[in-house]
């Protein structure tokens, strides 16, 4: 799991260091992207990936609302969305073949590209599309109003998102055909300020864009009359989503090579037919008995779209051809419904509101079934000018639930969506500019770090974008180390990068930077020895002892405990480790305070000796009691002079001394539909200790390996308030549960070797008028905007709820800045600064258009966790349902101009009800299904602690079909080909007995084998002769030398490499014990205690129309 990308240490290998000296190397900021995990964040810098206005994915709406079933033989159910795995995944080397021929025409320059709109506004229908009815009236209907807006017809903007992901690829051989974008150089024709102050000094600096509804300022090449304001707003959106032609960065693959497009275009139809037919067959439902998840009956809403399509073509094929039309005309988003005269209500509305951007396209959720995009949902792009957007922070690091900030709190209240930020501040980055400077330029008033979104009034003065104070530019800042020129402060790396790291001078230290100190607190009671974790731990630490982050000052120490506390004297000069037993657990003391924490380099042999002998030392122990509280106190005493990291391994309920806990779980209540008790801590001992730890810069990481109830709700506090992390391995046993053992091993390896920051604080600043409401995550809040993080690790995510205190009337953009000050394991004080800039809007529909459904879901999950602890679980569940009801009904009442039946949602929120339902069925919040209290609490911790990308997988798992993997649209990373199957809906109807399906639920993966699974798959991938021969407990894909096996393993390991924890894989059959776990994740289906997706939608509709 730990790939090269993961191991990047504290930025030393991660970026170019700039100093002020003139002798610095002027290497460009961007370094070639790393491999493995690192590649993943790259696309984020690519605005194309996250564009809002383009089609989310060409195939998304393709098969439309419960399409009429044509007499086609193999479709017994709703037709599956057409399989286009290659549409949205990064095409490596090969260009996606469906790219419209138009976009292949490389204009020699921006002007020329701009000049082509007439031709593209009404594109000549490609040959294939003649079979489809989409080229008919709807085409001009939706495209016509935008004709004049030049950006819309821009091929780059129009191209489907497949161009986006080219992260890990080396730049293509050909130079990027910049002209394709047709965008003006930033600076040559800056978007207008309204009106720009005469003294504004902005050479080449992005101007703050006009408000989204401002009249167009005539982007270069705009011909004819200015489009209406609505359209203009879109055009800016489109502008921001396209790559500027001058962007020098090479981090993205140049996948838009025109030659390739032209070459591959003609073959498209064939390949599509092929894929689609196959997928249509694949999704063919099993025997009727297996349709657990079918909608009870075809509801009325579904029936009104049953008019036969004018074309007798196979629906999948129709859908497949649709991208051809959608390519050049991004707004022609019509679902595969009938012709214009039979438009469904939502589409009828759409034709009338043809000016709405894609994010606001009205979707009737009751009618459109296939809403799930075939690939992971990208983050929406804020509606900013391209110059600003280009500089903006990566959405993987910094994401806002509303990419358009409402002007007032009342507008926010009206939208009924939570406003907040989701952060992953210490994420491993493969390229990170590092600046060494004796003075770090900050605002004198609010202490904001200088960032790309400040404005330079003239060469010597800059205006803070958070408090609007005018500051002087220090002399030192005038010199630009990158270009080695003087007098261009706006070109400094600090002003060119939204994510940057400073090496902090001594003003930022309260004390000399602490060394890396690691203390391991190990449970060695009988129960712990039984599980056998000790030998795994010792072996892992032995293997990675040289990879522990640190320098020559690194210290380690060990404490073991059962009913007594054992210390280990590892002082240099001893021939072997000396064990010191303290049995007075009521009044704990350190027997030899100086020699318990020892320098790792000096005493490595003793440490290794100890690790080798530890597993045997307690082999015969009969001690069953556990005095965890005293051990923690002892460890705290040991670490408090320096600070550092305490790793606690616990296997049972602490039952002796301080902090002893009682079992509070009633196993009979696990499945109760009533309220769940005991989600809050039983004692505040652990919380108080955590706060003490936090004050002494000690973080506690908890590894809980237990089959029984351990009261994680109480124990977890020790990590939660000391900014540690919690790992939980239920039913860990070295023999009975090999999957957990492997997970533990891999997690430990990552844990021991990952980057770490000590004595950290994180401050989040935002533009005047906004204020921070609540923080979510593991930390202690020291001040309204300051988090105390004794340790910070690259896998921690944070969420922040915001509120609007003062109206943002006169602002066009607001900014957020997260600054993380930490001591690296090498003893350097560093500051990592992320800045994000978002537009301010005044209309409710714009607020909805900017909603980021995943971020909203993530933040709601955090809020619901808080609610279930402070109030009750049912309260939290109601609150989540109400969140969906309120926002959709507010959308219906305020943002929709035309009322129509059905459950209507803007396209950007179309997945909202699904995600809310997924949350209700998530382990943390579900009722009625048997859930252990500890597992529930752990799920809650995960929702709060995991960065959004991983939390989303835990909320809404991804389902892939594995038995027909192909290399089409596959990724190429390090010469490995990684197939990219499309993400299926979580419904049993998508399963078939002939197939094999992989469900990726974040912490765990299930590979479900159908009863009649193809023989080929069984033998080539699993290496067994028949279905019956699949072993009951299989957690490993055999390494067979077949193409199918390689593909499957490549996919699984690629999925694993993307996350910092190790998901165990379970291969399950119909009879397996784990099958219920697999089926519980089928979110769209009905279970005994929970609604199906369709029933949930009906419930929402009922509540909304009340």
């Amino acid at each position: 799991m730990s790939t090269a990308g993961f191991n990047s240490q504290n930025g030393t290998g991660t970026g170019q260091t700039y100093t002020n000296g003139p002798s610095q190397n002027p290497v460009a900021l961007q370094q070639p992207p790393g491999v493995g995990y690192g590649m993943n964040h790259q696309p984020a810098y690519n605005p194309m990936q996250t564009k809002v206005l383009g089609p989310p994915s060409p195939a998304l709406y393709a098969s439309g609302p419960y399409q009429p079933v044509p007499p086609g033989p193999q479709l017994g159910s709703y037709p599956p969305p057409p399989a286009q795995p290659l549409l949205t995944r990064p095409p490596i080397g090969v260009l996606p073949s469906h790219t419209p021929p138009q976009s292949a025409s490389p204009g020699p320059g921006p002007r020329q590209a701009q000049a082509t709109p007439p031709a593209q506004a009404t594109p000549p229908p490609p040959a294939v599309t003649s079979t489809s009815y989409y080229t008919g009236p709807p085409a001009w209907q939706y495209a016509a109003p935008r004709g004049p807006a030049p950006n819309h017809v821009n091929p780059a903007a129009a191209a489907p998102p497949h161009m986006s992901h080219g992260s890990a690829q080396p730049p293509g051989p050909g130079a990027p055909p910049t002209s394709i974008h047709g965008y003006p150089q930033p600076g040559t024709a800056p978007p207008p300020m309204n009106p720009p102050p005469p003294h504004t000094y902005q050479p080449n600096r992005p101007a703050y864009g006009p408000p989204p509804t401002a009249p167009p300022a005539g982007p270069p090449g705009a011909t004819g009359t200015p489009p209406p304001p609505k359209v203009d707003a879109q055009s800016w959106g489109a502008a921001s989503s396209a790559r500027p032609p001058t962007e020098p960065d090479t981090q993205e693959g140049d996948v838009e090579c025109p030659g390739d497009v032209a070459g591959n275009g003609p073959q498209a139809p064939n390949s599509y037919n092929h894929v689609d037919n196959r997928m249509a067959g694949a999704a063919q439902p099993g025997p009727p008995g297996r349709h657990l998840g079918h909608y009870p009956s075809l509801p009325p809403g579904y029936q009104n779209t049953l008019a036969p399509p004018p074309s007798s073509l196979h629906p999948a094929l129709q859908a497949a051809t649709q991208p051809y039309i959608q390519g050049p005309q991004p707004y022609q988003q019509q679902p595969g419904g009938p012709g214009p005269d039979q438009l469904s209500p939502s589409m009828a509305a759409m034709s009338l509101q043809s000016g709405t951007p894609e994010a606001l396209r009205v979707v009737n959720l009751l009618q459109e079934r296939n809403l799930l995009p075939p690939a992971p949902v990208p983050a929406p792009t804020p509606c900013l000018t391209q110059d600003l957007q280009k500089l903006n922070c990566s959405p993987e690091v910094f994401r806002c639930t509303l990419t358009s900030i409402p002007q007032t709190q009342s507008l926010l209240n009206k939208a009924k969506l939570p406003l907040g930020l989701l952060l992953h501040p210490f994420k491993d980055l493969s390229q990170l500019p590092v600046v060494t400077s004796s003075t770090i330029v900050r605002c004198r008033s609010c202490r904001t770090y200088i960032n790309p979104f400040v404005s330079f009034l003239d060469q010597r003065r800059w205006k803070c974008n958070l408090c609007y104070r005018v500051n002087d530019v220090p002399e030192e800042f005038m010199y630009n180390p990158v270009s080695r020129s003087y007098g261009e402060p706006h070109k400094r790396p600090e002003v060119q990068n939204a994510t940057i790291e400073f090496i902090a001078p001594s003003e930022y230290m309260l004390r000399p930077p602490q060394p890396a100190v690691y203390l391991f607190v190990l449970d060695v009671s009988h129960n712990a020895v039984e599980t056998g974790y000790l030998s795994v731990f010792c072996q892992s630490l032995l293997d990675n002892i040289n990879a522990l982050p640190g320098d020559s000052r690194t210290k380690v120490g060990f404490i073991t405990f059962d009913s007594t506390i054992h210390f280990y004297n590892l002082q240099e000069g001893l021939s072997q480790p000396q064990m010191l037993i303290v049995s007075d657990i009521e009044d704990i003391f350190l027997p030899t305070p100086d020699s318990l924490l020892v320098n790792l380099n000096e005493c490595k042999e003793l440490v290794q000796d100890l690790l080798k002998s530890l597993p045997n030392l307690f082999e015969k122990t009969m001690e069953t009691q556990s005095a965890l509280g005293s051990a923690l106190q002892a460890a705290f005493k040991l670490l408090s002079p320096t600070g550092g990291r305490m790793s606690v391994f616990q296997t049972q309920l602490p039952n002796l001394g301080v902090g002893a806990l009682q079992s509070r779980e009633d196993p009979n209540q696990r499945a109760s539909a009533k309220d769940v008790q005991h989600l809050s801590p039983a004692t505040d001992f652990y919380k108080k200790l955590a706060l003490d730890c936090s004050g002494q810069q000690v973080a506690v990481d908890l590894f809980l390996l237990s089959a029984q109830y351990c009261d994680l709700a109480s124990l977890g506090c020790i990590s939660r308030f000391s900014a540690g992390s919690v790992y939980y391995y239920p039913s860990y046993h070295h023999q009975h549960n090999p999957a957990q053992v492997e997970r533990f091993q891999r997690d430990l390896k990552r844990y021991l070797t990952r980057k770490i920051g000590f004595e950290a604080v994180m401050r989040i600043r935002c533009t005047k008028g906004l204020s921070i409401h609540t923080f979510h995550g593991n930390f202690f809040v020291r001040s309204t905007d300051l988090l105390s993080l004794p340790n910070v690790n690259p896998d921690a995510g944070f969420a922040v709820q915001m509120s609007i205190e003062e109206n943002l009337d006169d602002m066009q953009v607001v900014s957020f800045q997260a600054a993380l000050l930490y001591t690296s394991s090498k003893g350097e004080r560093r500051i990592r600064v992320h800045t994000m800039c978002l537009p301010v809007v005044s209309s409710l529909s714009d607020v909805f258009a900017g909603a980021d459904v995943q971020a909203v879901t993530g933040l709601l999950a955090c809020m619901a966790v808080d609610r279930s602890v402070t109030s009750s679980l049912s309260d939290a569940r109601d609150a989540m349902t109400n969140a969906a009801i309120d926002s959709l009904s507010s959308y219906r009442q305020s943002a929709l101009t035309i009322q129509q039946p059905g459950l209507l949602a803007p396209a950007c929120l179309r997945l909202f009800p699904l995600y809310i339902l997924a949350l209700l069925k998530q382990k943390a919040f579900r009722t009625g299904t048997s859930t252990r209290l500890d597992e529930r609490v752990f799920a809650m911790y995960q929702l709060k602690y995991q960065p959004l990308a991983f939390a989303m997988l835990m909320i809404h798992p991804a389902l892939y079909r594995l038995d027909d993997l192909s290399d089409e649209g596959a990724l190429n990373i390090n010469e490995r080909t990684i197939p990219q199957p499309r993400v299926l809906q979580l419904s049993v109807e998508k399963l078939s007995r002939e197939g094999a399906f992989l469900m990726d639920a974040g912490l765990v993966m299930y590979l479900w084998i159908g009863r009649n699974c193809h023989q080929n798959f069984l033998s080539q991938v699993l290496g067994v002769s028949s279905y019956a021969a699949v072993p009951e407990k299989l957690c490993l894909l055999p390494e067979l030398d077949t193409a199918e096996s390689q593909r499957t393993r490549a996919l699984v390991s690629w999925l694993r490499d993307q996350r910092p924890f190790f998901p165990s894989l379970h291969i399950i059959r119909d009879e397996s014990q784990l099958k219920p776990h697999f089926m519980q994740n089928m979110i769209e289906d009905r279970t005994e205690s929970a609604l199906s997706y369709y029933e949930f939608l009906l419930h929402l509709q009922q509540q909304i129309s009340k």
Binding site: S445, A682, K688, L691, S771, H773, V781, S783, T784
Partner: protein
């Protein structure tokens, strides 16, 4: 005009309410400082060493948090006194606050020591706003009851 037990109760309540008003003001200041901690750091930093200022502030907040239980006890104490003096109207006027105090203390977070505020959740904007509002409401209530006790004391002294 005789000095009755009721008159003594009113006099005592008068003095104690003055103390409670002081507590309430302290409470408001402390929470306001918690909230506006970051708002304008430069002004604070210009005049005084920030760390000293910070320590003072933290002390103020800590004292305010410690004052909660005495406040409740004082209020409970003169409620009991009024009960003994059979001043029913005054008692009824004070009962809602007494009930509120009981509810507030029973619904406090899990804590092993006396106290009301959990340092880990106090910075939550909702809780902070609630505590501030609570402080203002109490201040108003104590002020009003101060004058009521004054009136009550004179009335009892005059009428008896």
């Amino acid at each position: 005009m005789a000095f009755t037990f009721a008159a003594f109760c009113y006099m005592l309540a008068l003095l104690l309410t003055a103390a409670l008003i002081f507590f309430a003001i302290w409470h408001i200041i402390a929470f306001d400082e918690l909230k506006t901690d970051y708002k304008n750091p430069i002004d604070q930093c210009n005049t005084l060493n920030p760390t000293i200022e910070k320590v003072k502030k933290i002390k103020r907040v800590k004292i305010a948090i410690k004052l909660v239980l005495p406040e409740y006890l004082i209020h409970f104490f003169f409620c009991v006194m009024f009960l003994c003096a059979a001043e029913w109207l005054t008692l009824v006027l004070n009962l809602p606050l007494l009930a509120y105090h009981v509810w507030r203390y029973t619904s406090r977070p899990v804590m092993s020591c006396p106290g009301l505020y959990d340092p880990t959740t106090i910075m939550n904007a909702d809780i902070l706003a609630y505590c501030q509002k609570e402080g203002w409401c109490k201040l108003a209530f104590y002020l009003l009851s101060f004058f009521y006790y004054l009136y009550g004391m004179i009335y009892v002294l005059v009428s008896s």
